[in-house]
Amino acid sequence: MALDDKKTRFKYVGTTPNRPDGVDKVTGKAQYGADITAPGMLTAAILRSPHAHAKIVSIDASAALAMPGVRAVVTGADFLDHEDAFFADVSETCMAKGKALYDGHPVAAVAATTPAIAKAAVRAIKVEYAPLPHVTDVDEAMKPSAPIVLEGRALEHVPAGMSQNVTNTCEFGHGDVEAGFAKADLVLERSFKVSATHQGYIEPQACLASFAADGRADLWCCTQGQFFVRALCSQIVGMEASQLRVTPSEIGGGFGGKTTVFIEPVALMLSKKSGRPVKVVMTRDEVFKATGPTVHASVDCKIGMTKDGRITAGDMTLRYSGGAWPSGTIEMGAQAGFAAYDMPAVRTVGWTALTNRPKEISYRAPGAPQAVYAVEALIDEMCQKLNLDPVETRLKNAARAGTLSSYGVTFQEIGMVATLEAAKAHPHWSAPLGPNQGRGVAAGFWFNFGGNTCVSLNISTDGTVSVTEGNPDIGGSRAAISLMAAEELGVPYESVRTIVADTASLGYNDNTDGSRVTFAVGLATIKAAREAIKVMCQRAAAFWGIDAEAVEWIDGAAHPAGPNAGKFPPMSLAEIAAMSFQTGGPIAGHHEVNVDGAGVSFGVHICDVEVDPETGFTKVLRYTVAQDAGKAVHPQYVEGQMQGGAVQGIGWALNEEYIYGADGRLQNAGFLDYRIPVASDLPKIDTVILEIPNPGHPYGVRGVGETPIVPPLAAVTNAVSRAIGKRMYQVPMSPPRILTTIKG
């Protein structure tokens, strides 16, 4: 096959073999971030600001340094000043410089011989703070009277009536929105609030850093991207990238939250100062307080609709805050909000403002759930008011090939209509409901991404295959990549072993994010395999003494083709591999590329709930996810992404939120009061995978991981609103909020 050829019939892709990391993960052998140790290792503890916003007047670590067993202390003064705002911001999220910007902001760190000494030493550090007024709500932060979180980061021209906390604005859309509203029979405008949520990975951030006296360093950490960690740490610490080797551990969940650094530069600095390996493991409350949650949002949404359900125009203003530093997530939300629909006229305006909260980090489809929630909830309310079927109404307005999207691109073939049809045809949609029950439906959209990717594929002399790739495996990607290598080479899945490399072993790979790994690493793997096949065909041709062009690869073997067809028996991969030393040397293929063409995806979710009218308690009774997933390489793992993403969205819709007190401190920094769904909260999550091929991938693969978190906020909202007979305009819909609405 030529490098770019497409394949539509599969032998291994689409099957569900066991994952290669399975045995280690069920026996406790798999090594995660906190499981790694080194001889002579020190343990670090971090001192964090108890203030939402305070000037750091002085730090006196002398008592800590005097304690036996304490080997190093670092503070903001030890960290370089960076001209580049991007690196300066990341550095400051790791260690405050001059000002503490949120409750939990690191102020100093200690490395000591035992965890107990490190903790005691942290308590012995004296910090003098001068508390400043704080602001933790985006709407408050935008008011001209708000305390300024960071000086000098405002927009060049902040509009009148807004504060210097406003750092970003954007506008998207097309058509004449006012004219569109004029054509509508019903125009509704509603305001929505979306709380910040945390990715909630079960494994807290952990790392081990070891700096050598000659300036080389090694870093082991749980991350979604070892190469990005290297890029950030080498800049922050001030060293050459090649002198820092970063090895990713197994990763205990990330969902976007492990796409940056928090503790790694601190561990490196402490190791450099102490000359010893230093381990940093975050506690759960540190994870909640000081790693990135999502933005929180305030949204005004206005839609015009005709009596028969045609949307005439949409207009939305989004206000996001990603904490104490500028964030670009608003652009993703503003583009995604109306993307599922064919909008004759649409406008989305976005604003970002700084608040005294930790810096927002990606969480599954960053920015999209907040915007899509408002659109999908408002469409549902309009369907109720106009007595329209919510699926038929969405079908009537669904984006399809040729639709000019809300973000300016004309869609090619897309799966919105197919996904809605699948939901409509599902028995769930027509099942009866009991008293106090409601059914909600909502659609969702996500872009999906490709990105920088390197794969090296080596053929062993025994005919087995090693694939080296650079993206931490967060949901079974090693299995999917092995499947694609097996498919292309024509060898059994069991003959392929895929490993995730450290930063010294491959070129740069973008993070495991943007639903990119199975798509982009798969694409690079297929092309690396095709390179190897080319070499193997050349070897066979040389052995047979024929032209390499006259050899083709079929089902795991080189076959003489064309005029030579049938002249020689086919030669299997194992046979070619066995003679590789004699025919020119080891055989390998590799591919390095910045992949584009990921292909957007759509999901439609149906949710049934029952609401206790006296308490507002909501039980999810039934849930169905339909999604265009492209070719499902390992269908079980595709289902797993759809189920896991949906449940995260259900948690967001019902219970999960960052709660700040009047003092600006986080009130619920633990799994007890940051309430992620538990097993007994949930019904079975049914899935419908629609395999609409992505033209941008040789096998038609499309990203699947992020889209499933987009529809649930509205799907659950619509179900609850229909169950109680009143509309909800805020997530999470905690029982007190629901009960207040019921009693309204």
């Binding site: 903790k119 506690t283 409350d285 006296e614 308490t615 507002g616 308690f617 039980k619 019902l654 219970n655 709660i659 009130q667 619920n668 799994f671 007890l672 009061d673 309430r675 769904p677 538990v678 007994s680 909260d681 905690s734 029982p735 007190p736 009960l739 207040t740």
Partner: protein, 285 residues
């Protein structure tokens, strides 16, 4: 911090009394270890009471039950008889934490932790249960309701430990029930809770009742049970009970619930728990 295992209640009491610094009792440890982890407390001495003879046993006494202070709630649940006499007490105890926590946590620990939201306490208060306390001044018996003094505070003096909880004898046609409100189905702290214990006459008239509410005041409070005594728990009685429950609520606004929500939910739960207890007392399963 020092750790010691006490062989007798008296030894535990003297060690706790003699400690000049902070001392803590360790039974199930499901609150103590959380507080240690969070750095909320740094005790100088922890006394493990689980080796004290009889402290992990459930024994019948005077028609009722003596439940040793270190009996894990999972053990309580597995006991063949306590649950049939006091289903509400047992179900309250078994709502604390997870299966894993159930394997360790104790009713006495829940009581002495003195959280207004402890799930084991309203059932015990509704049951009019008492506790045996061993202390420097000897052994005394007190009512459960008198143990909590406010959030995180008890009326126990330095050196006193609870060694057993006593559930009284049950007249015929008696039962109880406990309900709590949490936003999820498991793993949360009660936002409001209610326990109802009652006894019926042969004709189904309520002759005695106690209604205890959790998480709606600095400590567990009793609602006026006269609202249902003498009734057959008709709609009017239930409405009066809900009102009486709301009337004694003095909750706080916090991350878990608002004053209004807690108050109205306490009324709802009292009403629902009364119905369950009533049906149980009538012999319904």
């Amino acid at each position: 911090m020092r750790y010691m295992t006490a062989e007798t209640a008296e030894a535990a009491s003297s060690a706790l009394a003699a400690e000049p610094g902070m001392a803590r009792v360790l039974a199930g440890g499901t609150d103590l270890l959380v507080q240690l982890k969070a750095g909320m407390i740094r005790p100088d001495l922890v006394v493990d009471i689980k080796k004290i003879p009889g402290i992990r046993e459930i024994t019948a006494e005077a028609g009722g039950w003596r439940i040793g202070a270190a009996v894990a709630n999972a053990e309580l649940k597995e006991h063949p008889s306590v649950k049939s006499a006091w289903p509400g007490v047992v179900e309250g105890a078994n709502l604390i934490g997870s299966t894993q926590v159930q394997g360790r946590c104790t009713m006495a620990g829940n009581l002495c932790n003195a959280s207004p939201a402890g799930d084991a306490v309203p059932g015990l208060v509704a049951a009019d249960a008492s506790v045996t306390i061993v202390g420097p001044a000897g052994t005394r018996v007190a009512k459960v309701i008198d143990i909590p003094a406010g959030p995180g505070k008890t009326t126990l003096v330095k050196g006193e430990i609870v060694t057993a909880i006593h559930l009284p004898a049950r007249p015929a046609r008696s039962s109880d029930a406990y309900l709590r409100f949490i936003p999820r189905t498991e793993m949360d702290i009660a936002v409001a809770s209610a326990a109802v214990s009652l006894t019926l006459a042969e004709d189904g008239t309520i002759t005695a009742a106690r209604v205890a509410l959790g998480a709606v005041a600095p400590k567990v409070v009793l609602a006026d049970a006269a609202t249902i005594i003498g009734t057959k728990l008709d709609e009017a009685a239930l409405a009066a009970l809900a009102k009486a429950a709301e009337a004694v609520c003095n909750p706080i606004d916090d991350k878990r619930g608002t004053v209004a929500f807690r108050t109205s939910t306490a009324g709802v739960l009292a009403r629902r728990a009364a119905i369950i207890a009533y049906n149980r007392a009538k012999g319904a399963k």
